[in-house]
């Protein structure tokens, strides 16, 4: 059985990518399961899609713990623990990352025994797929790496899945998928089917025993205010707003009032401070700041630079 796990963000067509791959397998005579999983059904939030395909009946259910192929459509998710990209991968897993960085860079970064392959976005800016079509490029590469899916089955699967979106969208997505299919041609069949685990191989759930306690002790959160701050929505962000305090004219209200997420408060000096644990990266503050004191930088750069978060 083939087990494929897609990782991406809401809005990148990850759920659709899973369905396309499932359809393509189906056209090749496989039995197929495909299912997306999302916590927050929101643009920018981490999303998973699972595809199982087998020549025989599939009895396995649920999320894929030991994938043969992991497809990462957004490389900014790799360091995000909640995205669980490296979960359950082993020497025989192939990790396909859609990224500007090279195979070697990722191999060094991740120090994993899995085989890592990079699918780079096209060099010409005009050729780069829009966010919603990144999934299609990834699925094209995935199909070739699996090796049992023909270009024709892939095309038919995209046509079926995207028929409602109209011929232009279908044509674009077929184009992105087939380009990626060609690009990884030399690695055709790199992904090998995993075995059928017996019930004995299933891991025990990691239960934790808790003594029975009064609700006030065991569930204190019921009585607490604004507990939502425990949810770190900052990981939704692909761009980071950064304030240049030299240009901030302490207007008092613009970025803080317009930020939908209460993620910008004023400090003692009247300078705004961005709460990066929760900023979802909508960039309203960047668009609205009158003296253009807030700029957007890619989150991947921000992680390396660690810009000053404190006011001057």
């Amino acid at each position: 059985m083939y087990r494929i796990r897609f990782h991406g963000r809401g809005g990148q067509g990850i759920k659709t990518a899973g369905r396309i791959l499932g359809n393509a397998f189906f056209h090749e005579g496989f039995q197929v399961q495909d299912a997306p999983r999302y916590g927050a059904e929101r643009r920018g939030a981490p999303i998973f899609a699972y595809v199982r395909a087998s020549r025989d009946v599939i009895h396995e259910r649920g999320i894929i713990r030991h994938p043969d192929l992991v497809v990462v459509a957004d490389d900014s998710l790799v360091p995000v623990p909640a995205a669980g990209i490296l979960e359950g991968i082993s020497r025989r897993t192939v990790l396909l990352v859609y990224s500007h960085d090279t195979d070697a860079t990722w191999q060094a970064r991740l120090s994993t025994s899995a085989k890592i392959l990079v699918l780079p976005p096209p060099k010409k800016p005009t050729e780069v797929p829009e966010q919603g079509s990144v999934g299609a490029a990834c699925v094209g590469a995935a199909a070739r790496l699996i090796g049992v899916i023909s270009a024709d089955a892939l095309r038919r699967a995209i046509e079926d899945e995207l028929a409602d979106a109209g011929p232009v969208v279908v044509r674009e997505n077929v184009h992105y998928a087939l380009d990626a299919y060609e690009y990884v041609g030399e690695h055709q069949g790199l992904v090998k089917e995993g075995g059928e685990p017996s019930a004995r191989d299933y891991e025990r759930p990691a239960w934790i025993s808790l003594p029975f306690e009064d609700a006030r002790v065991s569930a204190p959160a019921i009585y607490a205010a604004a507990t939502s701050v425990e949810v770190r929505t900052g990981l939704w962000r692909t761009l980071r707003p950064v304030i240049d305090y030299a240009r901030c004219n302490r207007c008092w209200w613009v970025c803080g009032s317009f930020c939908p997420d209460s993620a910008i408060d004023l400090g003692d000096q009247g300078y705004p401070q961005i709460d990066y644990d929760h900023c979802k990266g909508c960039m309203i503050c960047v668009a609205q700041c009158p003296p253009h004191a807030i700029s957007a930088i890619p989150e991947t750069d921000a992680e390396q630079e660690q810009p000053a978060e404190i006011e001057p």
Partner: protein
């Protein structure tokens, strides 16, 4: 609104009471309006919600609020508010809680409930002169389930259930007029992109008792089809083109609180949203654009 102490932008709150970390989308216009409103209403509130995007705000064990929350069926939020208000009144009457512990009862629903399913319950609550505040975040469709059309969807907008070449065939209900026709204590339209106008109206509503109802137009990046950073621009265009009149009903009169001096063409608002893209490509639907503009012109013809 003359007695408001909110005269200028610097009078707006600079720290925020509504907790971060909610599951609302990046750039949510509804959450923007809600946090601006909540900063002024404060923690001594109990929210009664009907099914919609914002139901996800308060999912155990997480809540962005500093007070209580009650979730009701889609059509029932004002009825739920009646129960909460009655319970508070009885507790105060029986001296089980002091007057200082009283809470403002706030209904929070989307347009699906406000314009459609919950309209009858709202009508009845106003009829009973229930002392409550109703906040409707109006993103002009059933946003949480993928933007199916609702009673608030504007004419010609594409939704996931109005996919034909001319979009939604119906017209957006005039909920302001429907609510005002009940002669409640207060009705107002607001938008997160105009925080001072919004704040003055919330302050005004706070001073009054009885049914007070607020409709916040909530630009929705996902449902309307625009990039999240444009939420405030889209909201400002809604006001500047005259599509979303900012007004209030008080003491039997309707007052427009922000009359755009020279209205921008409605087209400026439509063309930045993918849900209206079919009016511009592959060719301009001139007849539709003219008729949408005419509707807005006709509205403003009789106003100041």
């Amino acid at each position: 609104m003359n007695e408001s102490h909110l005269r200028r932008m610097k009078d707006l709150p600079s720290t925020h009471l509504l907790g971060a970390g909610t599951p609302m989308c990046a750039g949510c216009g509804g959450l923007q309006a809600l946090h601006e409103i909540y900063d002024l209403l404060g923690a001594k509130t109990v929210f009664v919600n009907a099914a919609g995007c914002m139901t996800l705000l308060s999912v155990y064990p997480f809540t962005p609020f500093r007070g209580s929350w009650l979730y009701t069926a889609m059509a029932s939020a004002p009825a739920g508010a009646q129960g909460v208000r009655d319970a508070l009144d009885i507790l105060i009457q029986k001296r089980r809680i002091g007057r200082e512990e009283d809470l403002e009862t706030v209904v929070l629903t989307g347009d699906g409930a406000a314009y459609g399913m919950g309209l009858s319950a709202t009508s009845a609550a106003i009829e009973r002169n229930l002392d409550f505040l109703y906040i409707c975040y109006d993103n002009e469709g059933y946003g949480n389930t993928g933007q199916q059309y609702s009673g608030a969807t504007p004419h010609a907008a594409k939704t996931s259930t109005s996919t034909g070449p001319s979009g939604y065939a119906g017209d957006k209900k005039d909920l302001f007029a429907i609510w005002a026709a009940h002669r409640p204590a207060y009705v107002a339209t607001v938008i997160g992109a105009e925080p001072l106008d919004l704040a003055r109206k919330i302050e005004a509503a706070k001073q009054l008792r009885g049914p007070r109802l607020i409709i916040a137009l909530a630009p929705c990046p996902v449902g309307w089809g625009y990039s999240p950073e444009e939420t405030v621009n889209v909201g400002k265009l809604a006001v500047k083109t005259g599509i979303w009149p900012l007004k209030e009903y008080i003491d039997g009169h309707v007052i427009h609180t922000k009359v755009p001096r020279s209205r921008l063409p409605v087209e400026d608002y439509l063309k930045v949203q993918n849900r209206f893209a079919h009016l511009f490509t592959p060719q301009r639907d001139e007849a539709m654009l003219v008729s949408l503009q005419t509707k807005v012109d006709d509205y403003w013809k009789n106003i100041a």
